[in-house]
């Protein structure tokens, strides 16, 4: 038996690291989680949760989004391809109801996050024999049924109710990620339909309703998929609990005690509560909400550092709620009063952005925001696009009072149409992971060399500077490469390398955050969202839980043979003055026959100021090379520097990185020449002078040599040429009979030629030549 424990921070995504299960190379595919039974974990108890899935052999790590003590009971270690796994999950009493997530890892990788409920209602399994009203399954209320949809065959449940008894019912399915679109009918004993529940403005496909029993008796609840699609799952909660759409306001200020109300189709009688949202995290806070029966409804609460301005329910049409920017304008739209107004003072030239928050927080509203000036003239309005949460941006044209008009786009209103508009005034940005097939949010990596890339995109609101990307993770040791979105750019490919000590099977969670790079402007950081990837994986769930959005899961793999080699025979390159360019050639060798065509990404790192790099690919296959071409000014000062390079490529989902050691970068002249007379030159006689040439680059060309000046009465050849393979030459100088004896201190040779196609010319250091009398 393997015991895995965790001790996690409250209301934050948490990491559990498995211990001591070895690091054997995986011989099987990564695990999958399909569903759990029961479908919920109960606060204040230890819930034995059976996880159903595939490849659940030898689990190593488990991660949960909620604070819990978790013990995995993997069963027979020798059994292969196990499809169930028992987890004993102990939740603290009072843990709020809501939706959490669990993921497990084995030495072969990590599962996706399985969504489960945290729920106080007792769980009951669908007995599978309830496909007719006559065989309807008895339900003791309150209860939550974990069921599976049988497609064209419906599930039937029977319950008893007294006349006038209020029974609330909600199906939690798409909110748990299930592809189940419920249609619910309540029938009387004779089979007559008393109520039908289908889509809900706020919960989407998840039907919810209040049934008031017309008489004492037995009633049958029929549940099926709108499309008759099989395979979906659901948790049917039925009892007497509030059906909460959102808190009111749906955002509170962190660190400030805020009185909270609730809105939804059945929220009357819920006593307001005051909440103190903790500082730090901007993730949604789960809340249990209880009515008079004590049975819990549930919702989530957003938090912010900004002040909240809540529209008063008592406000009259056309009356504006006083507010200020930056701040959060919150309220609820009514069917008979479909427009709320907030008034604030603005200063000319102030950039403002109003981010609407509705559907991602559980509201059904899609807002239309309009910025009006004091005269009521529209200054700007939010764009209408595919997003449900538009952003209005504007620069205030003058000093004065402004009003923000908030309407529902289709003029809907009522308990399901709460909203918040976050008014920001300073430059800021948002980050998201590019929504394409190459962007993955779950990775299995070998330590140190395993890597993945993320195409991080930003949407800028008045901020044009660079954005530094970092990792927010309880796990240390992550290495990031190319982690700055350049100024004015909107995307960068970020590389993340697994920690050197990432153990096989270890499961780690991380988020990418961005900070303004060196500008000192707010915000302190912004987390990258992965909404696009989550929607692609679960189209039926357009708004994943807030804690899941941006979450990246990485599990450790045992050491893997690399599918490529990268080599260079250099540890040093010369950057030639006057040429202004040099290169380093990397030889790329594909060692796995299945690894084809995918190019290598090479990032030169640590280049000295003024030198830029360009990487050129040459060939494809056995003779593939990459040249790092360094370019800089021709008059760069001589000196010694060092740089490194980072290389990454992936075969399938297996990303692998190479980091070089330091490579010396010498800034030198392209040629060097020394002058060495064989001895003094006697008047009337001759003497040899040796010239030695050093070529610094790889380009070996003929070089012309000459002396800059001769001593008086001394003559020699005007120019001598060294062939491409010559390094040195002796030149004979002659002193005339009347040459004056002198010690000539400035004998300087000049070497001229072409290097890398560029004309270069260098002088030797001056040497002395003594002219002696005979």
């Amino acid at each position: 038996m393997t015991r895995v424990a965790s001790c996690l921070r409250a209301a934050a995504p948490l990491l559990v690291v498995a211990l001591g299960l070895g690091t054997q190379s995986p011989a099987h595919a990564q695990p999958t989680l399909a569903f759990a039974s029961p479908g919920a974990v109960v606060p204040g108890k230890t819930t034995e949760l059976t996880l159903h899935g595939g490849k659940l052999d030898q689990p190593v790590g488990i991660w949960s989004s909620f604070p819990a003590q978790i013990e995995l009971v993997p069963g027979d270690a020798n059994q292969k391809d196990k499809t169930t796994l028992l987890a004993k999950i102990t939740l603290a009493a009072g843990a709020p109801c809501g939706i959490g997530g669990i993921a497990i890892s084995t030495a072969a990788g990590a599962s996706d996050v399985l969504l489960v409920m945290i729920d106080e209602l007792p769980s009951l399994a669908d007995n599978g024999n309830n496909h007719t009203p006559a065989t309807a399954q008895e339900l003791p209320l309150p209860v939550a049924v974990d069921g599976a949809c049988d497609g064209t065959t419906f599930d039937y449940y029977r319950f008893a109710a007294k006349a006038g008894q209020r029974i609330t019912c909600e199906v939690v399915a798409t909110r748990l990620g299930w592809d189940f679109d419920p249609v619910v009918r309540v029938l009387d004993a004779a089979g007559n339909e008393l109520l039908r529940g289908d889509d809900d403005p706020a919960t989407g496909a998840d039907a919810r309703f209040v049934f008031v029993s017309p008489a004492d008796g037995q009633f049958v609840l029929e549940l099926g998929d709108n499309r008759y699609k099989p395979g979906g799952r659901y948790r049917l909660r039925i009892g007497d609990f509030p059906l909460v759409t959102t808190p009111l306001p749906l955002t509170v200020t962190r660190g400030a005690a805020t009185p909270l109300g609730f809105t939804g189709p059945l929220t009357e009688g819920i006593a307001p509560l005051t909440i103190l949202a903790p500082a730090g995290s901007d993730l949604a806070i789960p809340l249990s909400v209880r009515g008079s029966s004590g049975q819990p409804g549930w919702t989530t609460l957003r938090s912010t550092d900004l002040p909240i301005y809540q529209e008063s329910a008592a406000s009259k049409p056309g009356e504006a709620t006083p507010a200020a920017i930056p701040g959060v304008f919150a309220g609820r739209l009514e069917a008979d009063q479909p427009r709320d107004l907030f008034q604030f003072a603005g200063v000319k030239g102030t950039p403002v952005a109003f981010h609407s928050v509705t559907r991602s927080a559980g509201s059904g509203a899609i807002l239309m925001l309009r910025l009006l000036n004091a005269a009521g003239t529209q200054v700007a309005q939010s764009p209408i696009g595919d997003t449900d949460e538009p952003v209005l941006t504007a620069t205030l044209p003058e000093d004065g009072a402004y009003r923000l008009s908030i309407e529902e786009l289709a003029l809907r209103g009522g308990p399901d149409y709460s909203y918040a508009a976050i008014a920001r005034t300073g430059p800021h940005f948002t980050l998201s992971l590019k929504n394409d097939a190459n962007s993955r949010i779950r990775h299995a990596l070998p330590a140190g060399v395993g890597a993945f890339h993320l195409d991080v995109q930003c949407q800028r609101f008045g901020y044009d500077g660079p954005i530094a990307l970092g990792v927010d993770s309880p796990r240390s040791g992550w290495q990031l490469f190319q982690n700055v979105i350049p100024a004015k750019a909107n995307e960068v490919r970020l590389y993340v390398v697994a920690p050197l000590d990432l153990a096989a099977g270890e499961l780690a969670a991380l988020r990418i955050v961005g900070r303004p790079d060196g500008t000192g402007t707010s915000p302190s950081y912004t987390a990258m969202k992965t909404t696009g990837q989550l929607r692609a994986a679960r189209p039926q769930q357009p708004y994943p839980p807030a804690w899941l959005d941006g979450l990246l899961l990485v599990s450790g793999l045992s050491s893997q043979p690399s599918f490529y080699n990268l080599a260079t025979d250099r540890t040093e390159v010369h950057f030639l003055q006057q040429v202004g360019e040099t290169k380093l050639t990397l030889t790329f060798d594909r060692t796995d026959p299945n690894f084809k065509d995918v190019p290598l990404s090479v990032l030169p790192l640590g280049l000295p100021a003024g030198i830029a790099a360009e990487v050129k690919r040459s060939g494809n296959g056995p003779k593939e090379t990459y040249e790092i071409v360094l370019k800089g000014p021709q008059d760069l000062a001589e000196g010694q520097h060092a740089f490194r390079y980072f290389a990454f490529t992936e075969m399938g989902t297996n990303g692998r990185a190479v980091q070089s050691g330091d490579i010396r970068l010498n800034v030198v002249t392209p040629l060097a020449i020394t002058v060495a007379p064989a001895g003094p030159l006697v008047v009337g006689q001759k003497q040899k002078v040796k010239l030695t040439l050093t070529r610094r680059g790889d380009d070996r060309q003929p070089v012309d040599l000459k002396f800059k000046a001769f001593p008086p009465g001394v003559t020699g050849p005007e120019k001598t040429t060294l062939t491409a393979d010559q390094q040195e030459i002796e030149i004979e100088l002659a002193a005339a009979a009347d040459a004056p004896p002198v010690k000539f201190e400035q004998l300087v040779a000049v070497a001229s030629g072409k290097v890398a196609g560029v004309d270069v010319s260098v002088e030797s250091a001056p040497v002395a030549l003594e002219i002696k009398a005979p």
Binding site: D181, D199, R227, Y228, A410
Partner: protein, 842 residues
């Protein structure tokens, strides 16, 4: 037939007295008038027309009662009506005699008053011993008036159909000469006729050499053949216009604002009174009224009943009703006439009536001298009403129980019961699914089920039709939690919305008016875009939620008429332009108008649709094609149904109950000698082929082998499919299941074809069901039932009756002859399925 020209110098001047061939009794006074030889003129009975029996009218009525002739080219058609003691009327124009008190001022030629100089006179009209007098005032005789380009030249081209869709009015014109369709775009036509090709089509120096005249008169080759003769009124107009230099109308020129047609609708003409002269008056923007009969384009809605000549003489051919559509420029009016004749052997048998439906139907039948068939048998009624109300055959048990029931009210009880069956909602959701284009392709795999369920629920709860229409047309929000909003998903843009709303709820096919004024109907291009102004602010937005579309209203946006560039105000039929409050949903006033109790149109359209669903033919037919040229076959009946519908809160079940309980619905499909020619007036039930879905369900019911549709619950019937593309079925396609690409009910094919026959001869579905070991007769065989019982069950299941002795004997003989009981029963079942009695609703 003689043709007159309106140009005075060209008008025939010969005395027409010699042409008068009247059978009326010549009154001495009339002879006196004739002897005065002032100028007397009449059309006279013309060759091919049945002579009029003038008889003894009690009075004459002449239209117009006073004549004003302004200008030398003015004229006025006179229409003379004889009123008789029995309340009947007949048109005496062609036999009346006309005399004038001053031939110098005005004369009457061929029933047309013509001026000769300014002044006053009196015209005396005589026929059948009666006379009528009318004053004539001629003015401006000496003031020449140039030919109007718009309301004379273009009207003349329209009259000759030069600018029809088949000729130069087609989008690409003909022979390099293109005119706007039916002169809807005068500016374009002015450019074409006056400026294009350097004016080579006209020659003011020698008008008769103009291509515009020479080609239609076939002086030069003309692809369209002979279209113009010198005797045509249009010739004189066109020639004069050319001679005057081909002038366009000056700015501010008077325009025709409306036309008036005499006689008004409703006249009943009993043979031999089978003709009716029309007079078409144009009312102009300067207040003047002109006779435009010669340039108005007239057509008949039913050429078998009546035709109309170019000069406005309606000639009845057979008993029945016809609307004469009169079009002059963009103005359209109609004159609805009924033609009656005595049918040998006709005696009204005064059949009983069950309700007002029968009263109206019988009144029409009596007027047209058709004798209705008797009631259908209980077996036929049972099968018919099941197919109409729930789309399926009754079970054998239901059939036996009904046939055994001796109570007098069993038919009405069955109707009531069927209307409350859940299958009724499902079956009628199928019908509306066709109109609302329910397909998963257009609505999405999730939305299509929700929209279908919304439809089913509307019928389950018997949602009042005005509410039903309002919920669809006013729908906003998410298409998933408000499925009615899918109306604007299938109607993908403004123009699609206009056309869908008008066809589904107004019964009007507006597509033509998108590009030009409707060639034959009242709808103009301005009307089309005025209607569009109600819907152009409807916007659609995608959402991150799969299948969801958000329908909302933009707070601004106007419609521009593409031809005129004019910004259009919302326009309502019969009301004109309106100014909705700023910021309001513009659909609201449209829905308010549509569903107003005093707006009979929407009630008529739906009442007619309900009628056509159960009678197989609309009172207006096709049921979504209400137009002047397609009048109701029994207007009083349609009015009564619509009134009842509105008075009962647009309760569709109520109206169905009324119709289904009528003897008209329950009539025998067998015609008698005195109604066998009738296909319009509901004198007997019209058998029709079962729809594709009904037929498949009927085969399944007969063989007791339900069809399984993949992805849908067991027991789902073909008549309950949410959308054709959810469960594609070859049999259904062959038998005309529509793709639901349009809002037109016509998309459901009703004709039979070879593929259908092959399916029933040896198609895989029939073959498979007959060979299936679990089919009805094999199970009965396995249970040891005798042949007689098996054969009886097959008949009861398929055609709701027991086999006749002859059928039983033939079947038993076949079994005996075949030697193989199973194969023989297969043959018998196959034969039953191939009978018309099975294939048709009868």
């Amino acid at each position: 037939m003689k043709h007159r020209q309106i140009q005075k110098p060209l008008r025939s001047r010969e005395t027409t007295l010699s042409l008068i061939r009247v059978r009326s009794v010549f009154h001495p006074w009339l002879l006196f008038l004739a002897s005065l030889a002032v100028v007397t003129s009449a059309r006279g009975d013309e060759p091919g027309l049945e002579p009029i029996d003038v008889g003894q009218p009690t009075r004459l009525e002449v239209f117009p009662p006073a004549v004003k002739l302004a200008g030398p080219r003015s004229q006025m058609h006179l229409v003379v009506t004889g009123h008789y003691a029995d309340g009947s009327v007949q048109d005496l124009t062609r036999v009346a005699q006309f005399a004038t008190s001053s031939a110098a001022v005005a004369t009457v030629e061929l029933g047309v008053a013509l001026p000769h100089q300014d002044g006053g006179a009196e015209i005396v009209v005589a026929a059948g011993g009666q006379e009528a007098k009318l004053p004539v005032e001629a003015s401006s005789f000496g003031t020449p008036r140039p030919i109007s380009f718009e309301w004379e030249t273009l009207a003349a081209l329209s009259k000759q159909s030069c600018n029809s869709g088949a000729c130069h009015g087609s989008p690409s014109g003909k022979g390099g000469f293109r005119l706007s369709l039916r002169a809807f775009d005068a500016a374009f036509d002015a450019l074409t006729l006056i400026r294009e090709d350097l004016g080579r089509r006209t020659n003011p120096l020698d008008p008769d050499e103009s291509l515009l005249l020479a080609k239609p008169m076939m002086k030069l080759p003309h692809g369209g053949g002979l279209k113009l003769k010198k005797s045509d009124a249009a010739y004189a107009v066109l020639r004069q216009w050319i001679a005057e230099g081909c002038q366009a109308d000056p700015d501010g020129a008077v325009r025709c604002v409306k036309i008036e047609v005499y006689p008004p609708s409703g006249r009943v003409l009993k043979r031999p009174a089978h003709t009716q002269q029309l007079c078409v008056l144009g009312h102009f923007s300067d207040g003047s009224v002109r006779d435009v009969t010669d340039l108005a384009y007239c057509t008949s809605s039913d050429n078998q009943v009546a035709d109309v000549t170019p000069d406005g003489l309606v000639i009845g051919h057979d008993r029945g009703e016809a609307a004469i559509i009169v079009k002059y420029m963009e103005h359209v009016e109609s004159c609805f006439l009924t033609f009656v004749k005595d049918i040998p052997g006709f005696v009204w048998n005064d059949p009983p009536t069950a309700n007002y439906v029968d009263e109206h139907v019988h009144a029409k039948l009596r007027q047209l001298q058709y004798v209705p068939s008797g009631l259908c048998s209980d077996e036929e009624f049972l099968r018919r009403v099941h197919l109409d109300v729930v789309g399926q055959l009754p079970t054998i048990e239901a059939t036996q129980a009904f046939l055994a029931d001796a109570s007098a009210d069993k038919r009405s009880r069955l109707i009531a019961e069927l209307l409350e069956r859940p299958e009724h909602a499902k079956f009628w959701a199928l019908k509306w699914g066709d109109l609302l284009r329910l397909t998963s392709t257009q609505i999405g795999g999730s939305g299509v089920y929700k929209y279908h369920r919304w439809l089913e629920r509307a019928f389950e709860t018997n949602m009042p039709y005005d509410q039903f229409a309002a919920e669809l047309i006013s729908a906003s929000g998410s298409t998933l939690d408000n499925p009615a909003a899918n109306f604007y998903r299938t109607a993908t843009d403004t123009l699609d919305s206009v056309e869908s709303v008008s066809q589904v709820f107004l019964g009007a096919r507006l597509q033509c008016a998108k590009c030009h004024n409707h060639p034959f109907e009242r709808w103009t291009q301005d009307n089309y875009y005025g209607m569009a102004a109600f819907f152009n602010r409807v916007q659609r937005k995608k959402s991150p939620r799969a299948d969801e579309l958000l329908v909302y209203m933009a707070d601004s946006g106007e419609v521009t008429q593409p031809r005129t560039g004019k910004q259009m105000k919302p326009w309502l039929p019969g009301k004109g332009e309106i100014d909705p409050p700023a910021g309001a949903d513009r659909r609201d006033p449209f829905v308010a108008w549509l569903t107003a109790k005093d707006n009979a149109l929407v009630a008529k359209v739906e009442a007619n649709r309900l009628w056509s669903q159960v009678l197989g033919r609309g009172i207006v037919d096709p049921p979504d094609d209400f137009r002047d040229s397609n009048p109701p076959s029994n207007a009083a009946l349609l009015d009564a149904l619509a009134k009842d519908f509105a008075e009962h809160g647009f309760d569709r079940k109520h109206l169905l109950r009324v119709i289904l309980n009528s003897r008209t619905y329950q009539a025998d499909f067998r015609a008698n000698d005195l109604n066998k020619d009738d296909a319009k007036y509901f004198s007997h039930y019209q058998p029709r082929l079962l729809s594709a879905e009904q037929l498949l369900d009927a085969i399944c019911a007969t063989t007791d082998l339900p069809e399984a549709f993949a992805g849908l619950p067991a027991g789902t019937k073909a008549t309950q499919l949410p959308a054709p593309d959810l469960a594609k079925h070859e049999f259904l396609k062959i038998f005309g299941q529509p793709e639901r690409q349009t809002v037109c009910a016509c998309e459901r094919a009703g004709d039979s074809n070879l593929g259908m026959a092959i399916q029933f001869f040896n198609g895989p579905l029939i073959y498979g069901k007959l060979r299936d070991a679990n089919n009805r007769f094999r199970k009965l065989l396995a249970a040891g039932k005798p042949n007689e019982e098996i054969i009886t069950e097959l008949y009861l299941a398929a055609v709701c009756r027991k086999p006749a002795d002859k059928e039983m004997q033939a079947s038993l003989a076949h079994i005996a002859a075949k030697g193989d009981q199973v194969v023989a029963l297969e043959d018998i079942a196959w034969a039953i399925l191939n009978t018309n009695e099975f294939l048709f609703q009868h």
